[in-house]
Protein backbone atom coordinates (compact mmCIF):
# COMPACT_ATOMS: atom_id res chain seq x y z
CA UNK A 1 0.00 0.00 0.00
CA UNK A 2 0.97 3.64 -0.44
CA UNK A 3 1.36 5.94 2.58
CA UNK A 4 -1.15 8.80 2.55
CA UNK A 5 1.23 11.72 3.12
CA UNK A 6 -1.11 14.73 2.86
CA UNK A 7 -3.31 15.69 5.81
CA UNK A 8 -6.57 15.79 3.84
CA UNK A 9 -9.43 14.19 5.77
CA UNK A 10 -11.72 13.69 2.79
CA UNK A 11 -9.77 13.50 -0.48
CA UNK A 12 -12.23 13.47 -3.39
CA UNK A 13 -10.66 10.30 -4.82
CA UNK A 14 -10.75 8.29 -1.56
CA UNK A 15 -11.42 4.59 -2.08
CA UNK A 16 -13.59 2.16 -0.17
CA UNK A 17 -13.11 -1.60 0.03
CA UNK A 18 -16.16 -3.51 1.22
CA UNK A 19 -15.65 -6.95 2.74
CA UNK A 20 -19.15 -8.38 2.64
CA UNK A 21 -20.53 -10.83 5.19
CA UNK A 22 -20.33 -13.64 2.62
CA UNK A 23 -16.62 -13.03 2.02
CA UNK A 24 -17.14 -11.24 -1.28
CA UNK A 25 -14.95 -8.14 -1.74
CA UNK A 26 -15.91 -5.04 -3.74
CA UNK A 27 -14.14 -1.78 -4.55
CA UNK A 28 -15.98 1.54 -4.61
CA UNK A 29 -15.45 5.27 -4.26
CA UNK A 30 -15.74 6.23 -0.60
CA UNK A 31 -18.18 8.94 -1.69
CA UNK A 32 -20.86 6.24 -2.11
CA UNK A 33 -20.37 4.84 1.42
CA UNK A 34 -23.93 5.76 2.36
CA UNK A 35 -25.36 3.38 -0.26
CA UNK A 36 -24.15 0.47 1.88
CA UNK A 37 -26.45 1.55 4.72
CA UNK A 38 -29.92 0.18 5.31
CA UNK A 39 -32.78 2.24 6.78
CA UNK A 40 -32.63 0.31 10.06
CA UNK A 41 -28.87 0.69 10.57
CA UNK A 42 -27.29 2.63 13.42
CA UNK A 43 -23.95 4.28 12.68
CA UNK A 44 -21.87 5.02 15.78
CA UNK A 45 -18.79 7.28 15.75
CA UNK A 46 -16.22 8.40 18.31
CA UNK A 47 -16.63 12.13 18.95
CA UNK A 48 -13.43 12.55 21.00
CA UNK A 49 -11.39 15.58 19.97
CA UNK A 50 -7.64 15.11 19.80
CA UNK A 51 -5.28 16.71 22.28
CA UNK A 52 -2.03 18.24 21.06
CA UNK A 53 -0.33 15.38 22.90
CA UNK A 54 3.24 15.80 21.68
CA UNK A 55 5.33 18.06 23.89
CA UNK A 56 8.84 19.26 23.10
CA UNK A 57 10.88 20.24 26.13
CA UNK A 58 13.74 19.76 28.52
CA UNK A 59 14.53 16.91 30.90
CA UNK A 60 15.87 19.06 33.73
CA UNK A 61 18.08 16.43 35.41
CA UNK A 62 20.14 15.78 32.25
CA UNK A 63 19.61 19.12 30.53
CA UNK A 64 18.76 17.13 27.38
CA UNK A 65 15.93 17.88 24.95
CA UNK A 66 13.13 15.30 24.81
CA UNK A 67 9.78 14.74 23.15
CA UNK A 68 7.06 13.45 25.46
CA UNK A 69 3.96 11.89 23.91
CA UNK A 70 0.95 11.59 26.16
CA UNK A 71 -0.41 8.09 25.62
CA UNK A 72 -2.91 7.11 28.29
CA UNK A 73 -5.11 8.50 31.05
CA UNK A 74 -7.19 7.34 33.99
CA UNK A 75 -10.35 9.33 33.33
CA UNK A 76 -11.75 12.18 31.26
CA UNK A 77 -11.89 14.51 34.23
CA UNK A 78 -8.26 14.27 35.26
CA UNK A 79 -6.17 16.70 33.21
CA UNK A 80 -3.14 16.29 35.48
CA UNK A 81 -2.04 12.63 35.27
CA UNK A 82 -0.99 10.66 32.17
CA UNK A 83 0.90 7.66 30.99
CA UNK A 84 3.49 8.93 28.50
CA UNK A 85 6.26 7.82 26.15
CA UNK A 86 9.56 9.69 26.11
CA UNK A 87 11.82 10.03 23.08
CA UNK A 88 15.28 11.57 22.92
CA UNK A 89 15.93 14.76 20.97
CA UNK A 90 14.18 15.06 17.61
CA UNK A 91 10.69 15.18 16.21
CA UNK A 92 8.22 13.42 13.94
CA UNK A 93 10.47 13.84 10.89
CA UNK A 94 12.53 10.90 12.16
CA UNK A 95 10.66 7.58 12.03
CA UNK A 96 9.69 6.50 15.55
CA UNK A 97 11.69 3.26 15.20
CA UNK A 98 14.82 5.35 14.45
CA UNK A 99 14.35 7.81 17.32
CA UNK A 100 17.12 7.94 19.95
CA UNK A 101 16.22 6.76 23.44
CA UNK A 102 15.57 9.35 26.12
CA UNK A 103 18.26 10.22 28.70
CA UNK A 104 18.22 8.00 31.81
CA UNK A 105 14.93 8.69 33.58
CA UNK A 106 14.06 8.31 37.25
CA UNK A 107 10.96 8.96 39.26
CA UNK A 108 10.97 12.48 40.65
CA UNK A 109 12.63 13.90 37.49
CA UNK A 110 11.23 17.14 36.10
CA UNK A 111 10.32 18.20 32.57
CA UNK A 112 9.82 21.73 31.30
CA UNK A 113 7.68 22.34 28.19
CA UNK A 114 7.66 26.13 27.78
CA UNK A 115 5.17 27.40 30.35
CA UNK A 116 4.16 23.87 31.35
CA UNK A 117 6.09 21.78 33.85
CA UNK A 118 5.70 18.14 34.81
CA UNK A 119 7.08 15.56 37.22
CA UNK A 120 7.91 11.96 36.37
CA UNK A 121 6.01 10.17 39.11
CA UNK A 122 6.86 6.57 38.18
CA UNK A 123 8.82 4.49 35.67
CA UNK A 124 6.56 1.85 34.11
CA UNK A 125 8.73 -1.24 33.42
CA UNK A 126 10.23 0.21 30.26
CA UNK A 127 12.93 2.89 29.79
CA UNK A 128 10.53 4.98 27.64
CA UNK A 129 7.25 4.51 29.45
CA UNK A 130 6.43 6.77 32.40
CA UNK A 131 3.69 8.14 34.60
CA UNK A 132 3.65 11.90 34.48
CA UNK A 133 1.98 14.63 36.50
CA UNK A 134 1.57 18.19 35.22
CA UNK A 135 2.08 20.90 37.82
CA UNK A 136 -0.33 23.77 38.32
CA UNK A 137 -4.04 24.45 38.30
CA UNK A 138 -6.29 22.80 35.70
CA UNK A 139 -6.64 26.09 33.77
CA UNK A 140 -2.85 26.43 33.60
CA UNK A 141 -2.49 22.85 32.38
CA UNK A 142 -5.20 23.31 29.72
CA UNK A 143 -3.65 26.57 28.52
CA UNK A 144 -0.18 24.98 28.60
CA UNK A 145 -1.28 22.00 26.51
CA UNK A 146 -3.16 24.28 24.09
CA UNK A 147 -0.09 26.42 23.46
CA UNK A 148 2.88 24.06 23.95
CA UNK A 149 1.44 20.84 22.52
CA UNK A 150 1.31 19.69 18.92
CA UNK A 151 -0.63 16.80 17.46
CA UNK A 152 1.26 13.50 17.63
CA UNK A 153 2.59 12.86 14.17
CA UNK A 154 4.53 10.23 12.21
CA UNK A 155 7.15 10.61 9.48
CA UNK A 156 4.85 9.60 6.59
CA UNK A 157 3.15 13.03 6.76
CA UNK A 158 5.81 15.59 5.82
CA UNK A 159 4.30 18.89 6.94
CA UNK A 160 3.62 19.67 10.61
CA UNK A 161 0.01 18.86 11.48
CA UNK A 162 -2.26 21.57 12.80
CA UNK A 163 -5.07 20.83 15.23
CA UNK A 164 -7.66 21.34 12.50
CA UNK A 165 -5.97 18.53 10.55
CA UNK A 166 -6.66 16.03 13.33
CA UNK A 167 -10.05 17.10 14.74
CA UNK A 168 -12.88 15.26 13.02
CA UNK A 169 -15.97 17.27 12.02
CA UNK A 170 -17.77 15.92 15.09
CA UNK A 171 -14.85 16.38 17.51
CA UNK A 172 -16.17 17.32 20.95
CA UNK A 173 -14.44 16.46 24.24
CA UNK A 174 -10.63 16.78 23.89
CA UNK A 175 -9.54 13.46 25.42
CA UNK A 176 -7.94 11.44 22.58
CA UNK A 177 -4.15 11.25 22.12
CA UNK A 178 -4.38 10.46 18.43
CA UNK A 179 -7.35 11.16 16.17
CA UNK A 180 -10.10 8.55 15.85
CA UNK A 181 -9.19 8.74 12.18
CA UNK A 182 -11.87 6.46 10.73
CA UNK A 183 -14.12 9.41 11.58
CA UNK A 184 -12.29 11.68 9.11
CA UNK A 185 -14.84 10.43 6.57
CA UNK A 186 -17.64 12.15 8.47
CA UNK A 187 -18.85 15.43 7.00
CA UNK A 188 -22.06 17.26 7.86
CA UNK A 189 -23.21 16.34 4.37
CA UNK A 190 -22.62 12.64 5.08
CA UNK A 191 -24.54 12.88 8.36
CA UNK A 192 -27.46 14.38 6.41
CA UNK A 193 -27.18 11.58 3.82
CA UNK A 194 -27.27 8.97 6.60
CA UNK A 195 -30.50 10.58 7.87
CA UNK A 196 -31.92 10.72 4.34
CA UNK A 197 -31.20 7.01 4.00
CA UNK A 198 -33.38 6.46 7.07
CA UNK A 199 -30.43 5.24 9.12
CA UNK A 200 -29.57 6.66 12.55
CA UNK A 201 -26.38 8.27 13.84
CA UNK A 202 -25.07 8.25 17.41
CA UNK A 203 -21.78 8.92 19.17
CA UNK A 204 -19.71 7.76 22.06
CA UNK A 205 -16.52 9.31 23.40
CA UNK A 206 -13.42 7.13 23.58
CA UNK A 207 -9.96 8.44 24.52
CA UNK A 208 -8.12 6.91 21.57
CA UNK A 209 -4.51 6.19 22.52
CA UNK A 210 -1.35 6.16 20.47
CA UNK A 211 -1.02 3.77 17.55
CA UNK A 212 2.73 3.20 17.51
CA UNK A 213 5.73 3.75 19.78
CA UNK A 214 8.56 2.70 17.50
CA UNK A 215 9.55 0.04 20.04
CA UNK A 216 8.41 -3.53 19.30
CA UNK A 217 8.15 -4.44 22.99
CA UNK A 218 5.98 -1.41 23.76
CA UNK A 219 3.95 -1.83 20.57
CA UNK A 220 2.97 -5.31 21.74
CA UNK A 221 1.29 -3.70 24.77
CA UNK A 222 -0.99 -1.55 22.57
CA UNK A 223 -3.72 -0.58 22.83
CA UNK A 224 -3.36 0.66 26.40
CA UNK A 225 -6.46 0.81 28.58
CA UNK A 226 -8.71 3.59 27.29
CA UNK A 227 -11.54 5.36 29.16
CA UNK A 228 -14.78 5.85 27.28
CA UNK A 229 -18.25 7.26 27.82
CA UNK A 230 -21.49 6.03 26.23
CA UNK A 231 -24.37 8.53 26.49
CA UNK A 232 -27.73 7.06 27.45
CA UNK A 233 -29.11 8.40 24.14
CA UNK A 234 -26.61 6.14 22.34
CA UNK A 235 -27.35 3.09 24.50
CA UNK A 236 -31.04 3.63 23.78
CA UNK A 237 -30.36 3.96 20.06
CA UNK A 238 -28.50 0.61 20.14
CA UNK A 239 -31.46 -1.02 21.85
CA UNK A 240 -33.91 0.45 19.32
CA UNK A 241 -31.75 -0.65 16.37
CA UNK A 242 -31.60 -4.16 17.83
CA UNK A 243 -35.37 -4.23 18.27
CA UNK A 244 -35.86 -3.33 14.63
CA UNK A 245 -33.19 -5.84 13.55
CA UNK A 246 -30.92 -3.04 12.42
CA UNK A 247 -27.17 -3.39 12.21
CA UNK A 248 -24.71 -1.56 14.49
CA UNK A 249 -21.96 -0.03 12.35
CA UNK A 250 -18.88 1.19 14.21
CA UNK A 251 -16.87 4.03 12.69
CA UNK A 252 -13.40 2.99 13.81
CA UNK A 253 -11.75 0.46 16.06
CA UNK A 254 -12.16 2.63 19.17
CA UNK A 255 -15.94 2.54 18.77
CA UNK A 256 -15.97 -1.26 18.42
CA UNK A 257 -13.70 -1.57 21.46
CA UNK A 258 -15.97 0.61 23.63
CA UNK A 259 -19.18 -1.06 22.42
CA UNK A 260 -17.88 -4.58 23.00
CA UNK A 261 -16.52 -3.63 26.42
CA UNK A 262 -19.88 -2.12 27.39
CA UNK A 263 -21.87 -5.01 25.92
CA UNK A 264 -24.63 -6.47 28.03
CA UNK A 265 -24.09 -10.21 28.25
CA UNK A 266 -25.74 -12.02 25.31
CA UNK A 267 -28.30 -9.36 24.52
CA UNK A 268 -26.63 -7.10 21.97
CA UNK A 269 -27.19 -3.94 23.98
CA UNK A 270 -24.68 -1.76 25.79
CA UNK A 271 -24.48 -0.20 29.23
CA UNK A 272 -24.62 3.58 29.24
CA UNK A 273 -22.06 5.55 31.22
CA UNK A 274 -18.32 5.64 31.77
CA UNK A 275 -15.97 2.67 31.49
CA UNK A 276 -12.35 1.76 30.81
CA UNK A 277 -11.82 -0.48 27.80
CA UNK A 278 -9.27 -3.09 28.77
CA UNK A 279 -10.13 -5.78 26.26
CA UNK A 280 -8.26 -6.75 23.10
CA UNK A 281 -10.45 -7.83 20.23
CA UNK A 282 -8.97 -10.62 18.13
CA UNK A 283 -9.74 -13.83 16.24
CA UNK A 284 -11.16 -15.54 19.33
CA UNK A 285 -13.44 -12.64 20.30
CA UNK A 286 -17.16 -13.07 20.05
CA UNK A 287 -18.65 -9.79 18.90
CA UNK A 288 -21.77 -9.02 20.91
CA UNK A 289 -22.75 -5.63 19.51
CA UNK A 290 -20.86 -4.62 16.40
CA UNK A 291 -22.15 -5.88 13.04
CA UNK A 292 -19.79 -3.96 10.80
CA UNK A 293 -16.80 -1.68 11.12
CA UNK A 294 -15.51 1.14 8.95
CA UNK A 295 -11.79 1.49 9.43
CA UNK A 296 -8.57 2.39 7.66
CA UNK A 297 -6.39 0.00 5.68
CA UNK A 298 -4.28 -1.97 8.13
CA UNK A 299 -1.13 -4.07 7.70
CA UNK A 300 -1.40 -7.65 8.98
CA UNK A 301 1.05 -7.15 11.90
CA UNK A 302 -0.98 -4.41 13.64
CA UNK A 303 -3.45 -4.55 16.53
CA UNK A 304 -6.08 -2.97 14.28
CA UNK A 305 -5.73 -5.91 11.91
CA UNK A 306 -6.06 -8.34 14.83
CA UNK A 307 -9.41 -6.72 15.58
CA UNK A 308 -10.62 -7.34 12.02
CA UNK A 309 -10.00 -11.07 12.59
CA UNK A 310 -13.05 -11.00 14.86
CA UNK A 311 -15.14 -9.85 11.88
CA UNK A 312 -13.81 -11.94 8.99
CA UNK A 313 -11.92 -15.18 8.44
CA UNK A 314 -8.17 -15.18 7.89
CA UNK A 315 -8.55 -16.37 4.32
CA UNK A 316 -10.88 -13.50 3.47
CA UNK A 317 -8.57 -11.00 5.20
CA UNK A 318 -5.57 -12.40 3.29
CA UNK A 319 -7.46 -11.86 0.06
CA UNK A 320 -8.39 -8.36 1.20
CA UNK A 321 -4.74 -7.52 2.00
CA UNK A 322 -3.71 -8.70 -1.44
CA UNK A 323 -6.40 -6.58 -3.12
CA UNK A 324 -5.48 -3.50 -1.06
CA UNK A 325 -1.99 -3.76 -2.58
CA UNK A 326 -3.06 -4.63 -6.10
CA UNK A 327 -5.64 -1.82 -6.18
CA UNK A 328 -3.13 0.75 -4.83
CA UNK A 329 -5.04 1.67 -1.69
CA UNK A 330 -3.50 4.37 0.52
CA UNK A 331 -2.78 3.57 4.13
CA UNK A 332 -2.37 5.39 7.49
CA UNK A 333 -4.71 7.89 9.12
CA UNK A 334 -5.40 10.00 6.02
CA UNK A 335 -5.71 6.95 3.77
CA UNK A 336 -8.56 5.00 2.20
CA UNK A 337 -11.24 3.07 4.08
CA UNK A 338 -12.42 -0.50 4.51
CA UNK A 339 -15.93 -1.50 5.53
CA UNK A 340 -15.97 -4.97 7.07
CA UNK A 341 -19.28 -6.70 7.65
CA UNK A 342 -19.23 -9.38 10.30
CA UNK A 343 -18.99 -12.74 8.53
CA UNK A 344 -22.17 -14.81 8.43
CA UNK A 345 -20.55 -17.64 10.42
CA UNK A 346 -19.65 -15.16 13.16
CA UNK A 347 -23.14 -13.92 13.78
CA UNK A 348 -24.27 -14.09 17.34
CA UNK A 349 -27.87 -12.99 17.18
CA UNK A 350 -29.06 -11.69 20.53
CA UNK A 351 -31.60 -13.86 22.28
CA UNK A 352 -33.49 -11.15 24.09
CA UNK A 353 -33.43 -7.41 24.40
CA UNK A 354 -33.45 -5.82 27.80
CA UNK A 355 -34.23 -2.25 28.60
CA UNK A 356 -31.11 -0.30 29.44
CA UNK A 357 -31.44 2.02 32.36
CA UNK A 358 -29.58 5.26 31.75
CA UNK A 359 -26.92 5.73 34.41
CA UNK A 360 -26.68 9.44 33.73
CA UNK A 361 -28.76 11.71 35.84
CA UNK A 362 -31.40 13.74 34.06
CA UNK A 363 -30.37 17.30 33.56
CA UNK A 364 -32.24 20.51 34.47
CA UNK A 365 -35.53 21.91 33.15
Amino acid sequence: MIAASKPVQRPSDAKLMVIHADGHISHRARAVLVTFLRPTDLVIANDAATLPASLQGLHLQSGKRVEVRLAGRRSFNDVQHYMAIVFGEGDFRTRTEDRPPPPGLNSGDRFLFGSLSATLTKMLDHPRLISLRFEGLPEQIWAGLAHQGRPIQYAHVEDPLAMWDVWTSIASLPVAFEPPSAGFVLSWQLLAAIRDQGAKFATLTHAAGISSTGDPELDRRLPFDEPYFIPSATANAVRRARNSRGRIIAIGTTVARALEHAAVEDCGSVHAGAGIATLRIGPASKLRVTDAILTGTHEPNTTHYQMLRAFASDSVLRRASHELSSHSYRTHEFGDSVLVERALDRLSQPKSIELIRPSETARRW
Binding site: D47, A49, L51, P52, F76, N77, V79, P138, E139, W142, A143, L145, A146, H147, A162, M163, W164, W167, T168, S169, I170, A171, S172, L173, P174, W188, L191, A192, R195, K200, A202, T203, T205, P231, S232, A233, T234, N236, A237, R240, S244, R363, R364, W365
Partner: protein, 255 residues
Protein backbone atom coordinates in the same frame (compact mmCIF):
# COMPACT_ATOMS: atom_id res chain seq x y z
CA UNK B 1 -35.64 50.34 36.35
CA UNK B 2 -32.94 48.97 38.66
CA UNK B 3 -35.54 47.90 41.16
CA UNK B 4 -37.49 46.03 38.51
CA UNK B 5 -34.34 44.30 37.24
CA UNK B 6 -33.45 43.07 40.70
CA UNK B 7 -36.90 41.57 41.19
CA UNK B 8 -36.66 39.94 37.84
CA UNK B 9 -33.25 38.49 38.62
CA UNK B 10 -34.53 37.17 41.89
CA UNK B 11 -37.32 35.32 40.11
CA UNK B 12 -35.06 33.90 37.42
CA UNK B 13 -32.15 33.06 39.69
CA UNK B 14 -30.29 29.83 38.87
CA UNK B 15 -32.49 29.22 35.81
CA UNK B 16 -29.34 28.45 33.76
CA UNK B 17 -28.11 26.00 36.38
CA UNK B 18 -25.42 23.75 34.90
CA UNK B 19 -25.81 25.06 31.32
CA UNK B 20 -22.36 25.16 29.71
CA UNK B 21 -21.83 28.52 27.99
CA UNK B 22 -18.85 30.03 26.16
CA UNK B 23 -18.73 33.79 25.55
CA UNK B 24 -16.26 35.68 23.35
CA UNK B 25 -15.44 39.29 24.11
CA UNK B 26 -16.14 38.50 27.73
CA UNK B 27 -14.22 41.34 29.38
CA UNK B 28 -16.07 44.30 27.92
CA UNK B 29 -19.50 45.67 27.06
CA UNK B 30 -22.24 43.17 26.28
CA UNK B 31 -19.90 40.15 26.52
CA UNK B 32 -19.00 41.07 30.09
CA UNK B 33 -22.69 41.61 30.92
CA UNK B 34 -23.39 38.07 29.63
CA UNK B 35 -20.62 36.68 31.87
CA UNK B 36 -22.04 38.48 34.91
CA UNK B 37 -25.66 37.55 34.28
CA UNK B 38 -25.05 33.90 33.31
CA UNK B 39 -22.69 33.40 36.24
CA UNK B 40 -25.36 34.79 38.59
CA UNK B 41 -27.96 32.48 37.06
CA UNK B 42 -25.98 29.31 37.64
CA UNK B 43 -24.43 28.68 34.21
CA UNK B 44 -20.97 27.16 33.83
CA UNK B 45 -19.22 30.00 32.03
CA UNK B 46 -16.02 30.06 29.97
CA UNK B 47 -15.12 33.41 28.46
CA UNK B 48 -12.55 34.47 25.92
CA UNK B 49 -10.72 37.78 25.47
CA UNK B 50 -7.36 39.00 24.28
CA UNK B 51 -5.91 40.67 27.38
CA UNK B 52 -4.61 38.12 29.95
CA UNK B 53 -4.69 40.68 32.80
CA UNK B 54 -8.35 41.58 32.10
CA UNK B 55 -9.56 37.99 31.88
CA UNK B 56 -7.84 37.08 35.13
CA UNK B 57 -9.39 40.07 36.87
CA UNK B 58 -12.88 39.10 35.66
CA UNK B 59 -12.34 35.43 36.56
CA UNK B 60 -11.36 36.41 40.10
CA UNK B 61 -14.41 38.66 40.35
CA UNK B 62 -16.81 35.92 39.23
CA UNK B 63 -15.47 32.85 40.98
CA UNK B 64 -15.97 29.61 39.10
CA UNK B 65 -15.87 31.18 35.62
CA UNK B 66 -13.08 30.01 33.30
CA UNK B 67 -10.90 32.62 31.63
CA UNK B 68 -9.35 31.79 28.26
CA UNK B 69 -6.81 34.11 26.63
CA UNK B 70 -7.08 34.32 22.87
CA UNK B 71 -7.90 36.44 19.85
CA UNK B 72 -10.86 35.09 17.85
CA UNK B 73 -9.76 37.11 14.81
CA UNK B 74 -6.59 34.97 14.54
CA UNK B 75 -7.01 31.61 12.81
CA UNK B 76 -4.21 30.02 14.85
CA UNK B 77 -5.93 30.90 18.12
CA UNK B 78 -9.23 29.16 17.30
CA UNK B 79 -8.41 25.51 18.10
CA UNK B 80 -6.49 26.30 21.30
CA UNK B 81 -9.53 28.35 22.36
CA UNK B 82 -12.02 25.65 21.34
CA UNK B 83 -10.05 22.92 23.11
CA UNK B 84 -9.88 24.89 26.35
CA UNK B 85 -13.59 25.74 26.21
CA UNK B 86 -14.74 22.13 25.80
CA UNK B 87 -12.04 20.76 28.10
CA UNK B 88 -12.87 23.14 30.93
CA UNK B 89 -16.67 22.94 30.59
CA UNK B 90 -16.77 19.20 29.78
CA UNK B 91 -18.91 19.95 26.71
CA UNK B 92 -20.78 22.94 25.34
CA UNK B 93 -24.48 23.85 25.18
CA UNK B 94 -24.37 27.54 24.23
CA UNK B 95 -21.84 29.62 22.29
CA UNK B 96 -22.21 33.41 22.37
CA UNK B 97 -20.10 35.20 19.76
CA UNK B 98 -19.98 38.69 21.21
CA UNK B 99 -16.42 39.89 20.44
CA UNK B 100 -16.67 42.69 17.88
CA UNK B 101 -14.44 45.08 16.01
CA UNK B 102 -15.58 48.48 14.79
CA UNK B 103 -13.07 48.63 11.94
CA UNK B 104 -11.57 52.12 11.64
CA UNK B 105 -11.57 54.25 14.82
CA UNK B 106 -12.70 56.96 14.59
CA UNK B 107 -15.32 55.92 12.03
CA UNK B 108 -14.72 57.17 8.48
CA UNK B 109 -16.52 56.77 5.15
CA UNK B 110 -15.72 53.60 3.21
CA UNK B 111 -13.59 55.57 0.75
CA UNK B 112 -11.30 56.57 3.59
CA UNK B 113 -11.30 53.13 5.26
CA UNK B 114 -7.93 51.39 5.28
CA UNK B 115 -8.10 47.86 3.84
CA UNK B 116 -6.44 46.52 7.00
CA UNK B 117 -9.18 48.05 9.17
CA UNK B 118 -11.90 46.49 6.99
CA UNK B 119 -10.08 43.14 7.15
CA UNK B 120 -9.90 43.38 10.93
CA UNK B 121 -13.68 43.95 11.14
CA UNK B 122 -14.29 40.93 8.91
CA UNK B 123 -11.80 38.76 10.83
CA UNK B 124 -13.35 39.57 14.20
CA UNK B 125 -17.03 39.85 13.27
CA UNK B 126 -17.42 37.14 10.59
CA UNK B 127 -14.43 34.83 10.21
CA UNK B 128 -13.90 34.53 13.98
CA UNK B 129 -17.49 33.43 14.73
CA UNK B 130 -17.41 31.17 11.63
CA UNK B 131 -14.18 29.43 12.64
CA UNK B 132 -15.00 29.12 16.32
CA UNK B 133 -18.52 27.81 15.67
CA UNK B 134 -17.14 25.30 13.16
CA UNK B 135 -14.49 24.10 15.64
CA UNK B 136 -17.16 23.77 18.34
CA UNK B 137 -19.84 22.21 16.14
CA UNK B 138 -18.94 18.71 17.33
CA UNK B 139 -19.45 19.71 20.96
CA UNK B 140 -22.65 21.63 20.19
CA UNK B 141 -24.24 18.78 18.22
CA UNK B 142 -23.13 16.26 20.88
CA UNK B 143 -25.06 18.33 23.42
CA UNK B 144 -28.10 18.35 21.11
CA UNK B 145 -27.94 14.55 20.63
CA UNK B 146 -27.83 14.05 24.39
CA UNK B 147 -30.90 16.22 24.89
CA UNK B 148 -29.16 19.14 26.58
CA UNK B 149 -30.13 21.62 23.88
CA UNK B 150 -27.77 23.63 21.74
CA UNK B 151 -27.76 27.28 20.65
CA UNK B 152 -25.30 29.65 18.98
CA UNK B 153 -26.07 33.31 19.70
CA UNK B 154 -24.32 35.76 17.38
CA UNK B 155 -24.38 39.39 18.41
CA UNK B 156 -25.25 41.47 15.36
CA UNK B 157 -26.48 45.04 15.04
CA UNK B 158 -29.09 47.14 13.28
CA UNK B 159 -26.09 48.38 11.27
CA UNK B 160 -26.31 44.97 9.59
CA UNK B 161 -29.62 46.07 8.00
CA UNK B 162 -29.49 49.89 7.79
CA UNK B 163 -26.88 51.67 5.63
CA UNK B 164 -25.51 54.03 8.32
CA UNK B 165 -22.88 56.30 6.82
CA UNK B 166 -19.35 55.77 8.20
CA UNK B 167 -20.33 52.35 9.64
CA UNK B 168 -19.30 50.55 6.40
CA UNK B 169 -16.74 48.02 7.70
CA UNK B 170 -18.76 47.26 10.81
CA UNK B 171 -22.15 47.18 9.05
CA UNK B 172 -20.96 45.03 6.14
CA UNK B 173 -19.28 42.54 8.49
CA UNK B 174 -22.33 42.33 10.79
CA UNK B 175 -24.57 41.87 7.72
CA UNK B 176 -22.39 38.93 6.71
CA UNK B 177 -22.58 37.52 10.26
CA UNK B 178 -26.36 37.92 10.24
CA UNK B 179 -26.79 36.11 6.93
CA UNK B 180 -24.31 33.39 7.85
CA UNK B 181 -26.33 32.80 11.02
CA UNK B 182 -29.56 32.43 9.04
CA UNK B 183 -28.08 29.92 6.61
CA UNK B 184 -26.32 27.94 9.33
CA UNK B 185 -29.55 27.81 11.31
CA UNK B 186 -31.29 26.18 8.33
CA UNK B 187 -28.43 23.73 7.77
CA UNK B 188 -28.22 22.65 11.42
CA UNK B 189 -31.92 22.23 12.08
CA UNK B 190 -31.79 18.46 11.68
CA UNK B 191 -28.72 18.27 13.93
CA UNK B 192 -30.68 19.99 16.70
CA UNK B 193 -28.63 23.20 16.86
CA UNK B 194 -30.20 26.68 16.56
CA UNK B 195 -28.10 29.58 15.30
CA UNK B 196 -29.47 33.04 16.09
CA UNK B 197 -28.33 36.52 15.20
CA UNK B 198 -29.62 39.27 17.45
CA UNK B 199 -29.51 43.07 17.59
CA UNK B 200 -28.96 44.17 21.20
CA UNK B 201 -29.68 47.87 20.42
CA UNK B 202 -27.44 50.89 21.03
CA UNK B 203 -25.63 50.26 24.29
CA UNK B 204 -23.36 52.22 26.58
CA UNK B 205 -20.23 50.20 25.78
CA UNK B 206 -16.57 50.96 25.01
CA UNK B 207 -17.30 50.05 21.35
CA UNK B 208 -20.13 52.55 21.09
CA UNK B 209 -18.04 55.21 22.84
CA UNK B 210 -15.28 54.69 20.26
CA UNK B 211 -17.82 54.99 17.42
CA UNK B 212 -19.84 57.93 18.77
CA UNK B 213 -17.65 59.71 21.36
CA UNK B 214 -20.17 62.53 22.01
CA UNK B 215 -23.23 60.29 22.58
CA UNK B 216 -25.07 60.88 25.84
CA UNK B 217 -24.62 57.62 27.84
CA UNK B 218 -28.00 58.23 29.49
CA UNK B 219 -29.68 57.83 26.08
CA UNK B 220 -28.11 54.39 25.60
CA UNK B 221 -29.18 50.99 26.85
CA UNK B 222 -27.14 49.51 29.67
CA UNK B 223 -25.33 46.31 28.59
CA UNK B 224 -26.85 44.51 31.61
CA UNK B 225 -30.34 45.33 30.32
CA UNK B 226 -29.50 44.05 26.83
CA UNK B 227 -27.96 40.86 28.26
CA UNK B 228 -31.06 40.35 30.37
CA UNK B 229 -33.39 40.75 27.37
CA UNK B 230 -31.31 38.47 25.14
CA UNK B 231 -31.07 35.74 27.78
CA UNK B 232 -34.87 35.60 27.89
CA UNK B 233 -34.83 34.80 24.16
CA UNK B 234 -31.85 32.45 24.52
CA UNK B 235 -33.54 30.52 27.30
CA UNK B 236 -36.74 29.98 25.34
CA UNK B 237 -34.82 28.85 22.22
CA UNK B 238 -32.65 26.51 24.29
CA UNK B 239 -35.76 25.02 25.85
CA UNK B 240 -37.24 24.59 22.34
CA UNK B 241 -34.19 22.58 21.25
CA UNK B 242 -34.51 20.41 24.37
CA UNK B 243 -38.22 19.84 23.74
CA UNK B 244 -37.62 19.03 20.06
CA UNK B 245 -35.09 16.39 21.06
CA UNK B 246 -37.43 14.90 23.64
CA UNK B 247 -40.16 14.58 21.00
CA UNK B 248 -37.84 12.87 18.51
CA UNK B 249 -36.63 10.48 21.23
CA UNK B 250 -40.19 9.64 22.20
CA UNK B 251 -41.06 8.90 18.54
CA UNK B 252 -37.97 6.71 18.29
CA UNK B 253 -38.89 4.74 21.39
CA UNK B 254 -42.41 4.14 20.13
CA UNK B 255 -41.19 2.67 16.83
Amino acid sequence: MDMEMTDHNELLRRDFDGVRVAITGGTSGLGLAFVQELHARGALVAFVARNPASIERIARQYAGTFAIAGDVSRKDDIYPIAMQIVGRLGGLDVLINSASSLGPVPLVPLGDTECEDFERALATNVLGPFRLTKALLGALTASARQGHGSVVLNVSSDAAINPYVQWGAYGASKAALHHMSRIWNEELEADGVRVMSVDPGDMDTPLHAAAVPDADPASLKRPATAAHELLLILKSVLQETIRAHAEISAEGSAS
